[in-house]
Symmetry: C2
């Protein structure tokens, strides 16, 4: 059983998930699966993953067969497990609980060679619908407080499989960094009576030096204080705190601008590894005035070292104004 | 001029330090200098570094000659620059200031092939004396609020030079993560009237399942909620909030236990890349009851990916009890 442990100083939680049979100093990181090798996410290999929890695009009669367009399965090596009670308890001055949670893999396409930058808009919209529908479904479990959806692309960004996929983790607590973000937004709202993200969008559109692209509903910017070169934030222009509020029409518009964003990134820095993280309001909150859902996209082009670890202070050699200019001028096909 | 920018939500600061002449998408990370190549930190090449600010072990008559045992020089490619005013200012809703600060390199040994795990205790004590003496010297500059000393060892941990060295950065603000740490410690102190680190040391010594090694003055433990496999914390057993309070006798004892810690790590996981960060009280604080200086040692054996970026929540496959047992049992020569 994995364990959730709380750092007694910062309040940061960690998941201690011992992999069975592995000695504590076996750190051979699984190589990214190369083109042509066996891929558990490809059609035909459905039986090698745990049984699916969602599939779009095929007849429901064959729940683990081929013909799907997007498929969601539990992670075969989950960081948290779904069965059991939290059993919150202490160990002297320390706090811990059982590692209860959900860990799922969203297989974005049946095509091994397709990426978010190359798939068509309808396919990308299906991926975002899967995000939404899995959050809605898991919200029914009263043990969960927060759901994070993220993507690791490329080995340097932590991906162990090449086939395009995202991941979802449902947590029994609100992570420290999300709490920090919520607190920061609340402070701003208390002072100005406005959402800080709405103000950011307003200022960025008027300054127009860090905007990468936009359509009627969404906007991509390079943030004012980016942690890494070419960091981007993708936001709905109108105020929504919960990603699940997006209807199918909005998801279509979202796919359109996200596709442009991915194409620009992939063209400007060929095959760049990256992570993205969907930040949405905690599950038990219902329409927050002060928070605004968004996706943070972090290209992995540098190494996080001692200074960043020690201070939470980042050194970035690419001003966001330059990154935005390069991305804006990048022509995509 | 580098710029310090504040994220308007979290309050995290970043340094935007554009490297001259570099295009924004040149991310070829400098390879770690291999054995035998030209090394700017080796004796004989003193002229290739900026003029030294400290040297131990040689006649002061030849300030940039050979014969030194430990040498400190300004970083040739500094993230912050020492001359100028902060000029704090806004840009709409955003905050920024000039990137004023010091960025120095502590060359730990004249011997290119020596490491903290192999150098003798006297040499290691000189390194820690250099840390202390540089902090004392830079504290005189009223623009600085905080000094962090850290080490990147190995390419995966962000080192671009092989020759053993640490780095020092003096900052005009207290970094977000340090503020978080101070706040957490203060909260604990408010509630219990005791230092959380003193309580941790007391519990660890009594449980004795996460202690790696100790002597009369210092202790190394694997923390209860480690972010990475084999994370270690090195602490003085008695309460001191400021590293600069250490006298020469204590620094000798520190070198003794730190050497053991490094030897154990280096033997248990051969040539492991790692970062360490010295956390001490802010410069303008004078003996805090609630904070305790310490060094956090983070071996780099896994990749930080989207989940960690998005939540500040870490997944660790090695329980600290196992890491401590392995390190404790590791025999060193």
């Amino acid at each position: 059983m994995p364990e959730l442990r709380r750092d007694p100083i910062i309040g940061r939680w960690v998941i201690i998930a011992k992999e069975r049979g592995k000695r504590p100093f076996d750190f051979v990181i699984e190589p990214e699966r190369t083109k042509g090798g066996f891929c558990p996410l490809c059609p035909g290999n459905e039986a090698t993953t745990p049984p699916e929890v969602l599939a779009y695009g095929r007849d429901a009669h064959d729940p683990n067969g081929q013909g799907w367009r997007v498929r969601v399965v539990p992670n075969k090596f989950p960081a948290l497990i779904i069965e059991g009670d939290l059993d919150k308890r202490g160990e002297g001055i320390y706090d811990k609980m059982n590692g209860i949670g959900a860990h799922e893999v969203i297989i974005e396409t049946p095509n091994h060679y397709e990426t978010m930058a190359t798939m068509d808009l309808e396919q990308l919209a299906l991926v975002f619908r899967a995000y939404r529908d899995r959050i809605v479904d898991l919200s029914g479990d009263p043990r969960f407080q927060y759901i994070i959806i993220f993507k690791n692309k490329g080995k340097a960004a932590g991906a162990s499989l090449e086939h395009a996929h995202s991941q979802l983790i449902a947590l029994p607590i609100i992570p420290h960094l999300i709490q920090e973000e919520l607190k920061g937004c609340m402070k701003y709202y208390d002072y100005r009576d406005r959402c800080v993200f709405c103000d950011i969008i307003r200022q960025e559109r008027s300054q127009n030096i860090r905007v990468v692209c936009e359509n009627d509903e969404f906007i991509t910017i390079c943030p004012f204080a980016p942690r890494s070169p070419f960091e981007m934030w993708f936001l709905p222009k109108r105020h929504y705190s919960r990603f699940v509020s997006m209807n199918d029409e909005q998801i279509k518009m979202m796919a359109e601008l996200f596709s442009t964003t991915m194409k620009k990134l992939d063209t400007a820095i060929k095959d760049v590894p990256f992570n993205f993280m969907l930040h949405t309001a905690p599950l038990r909150e219902n329409g927050l005035e002060y928070f605004h859902w968004h996706i943070e996209i972090m290209p992995k082009v540098t190494t996080v070292a001692g200074f960043e670890w020690g201070t939470g202070f980042y050194i970035n050699s690419t001003p966001p104004e330059e990154a935005a200019r390069v991305l804006k001028e990048t022509e995509i096909s």
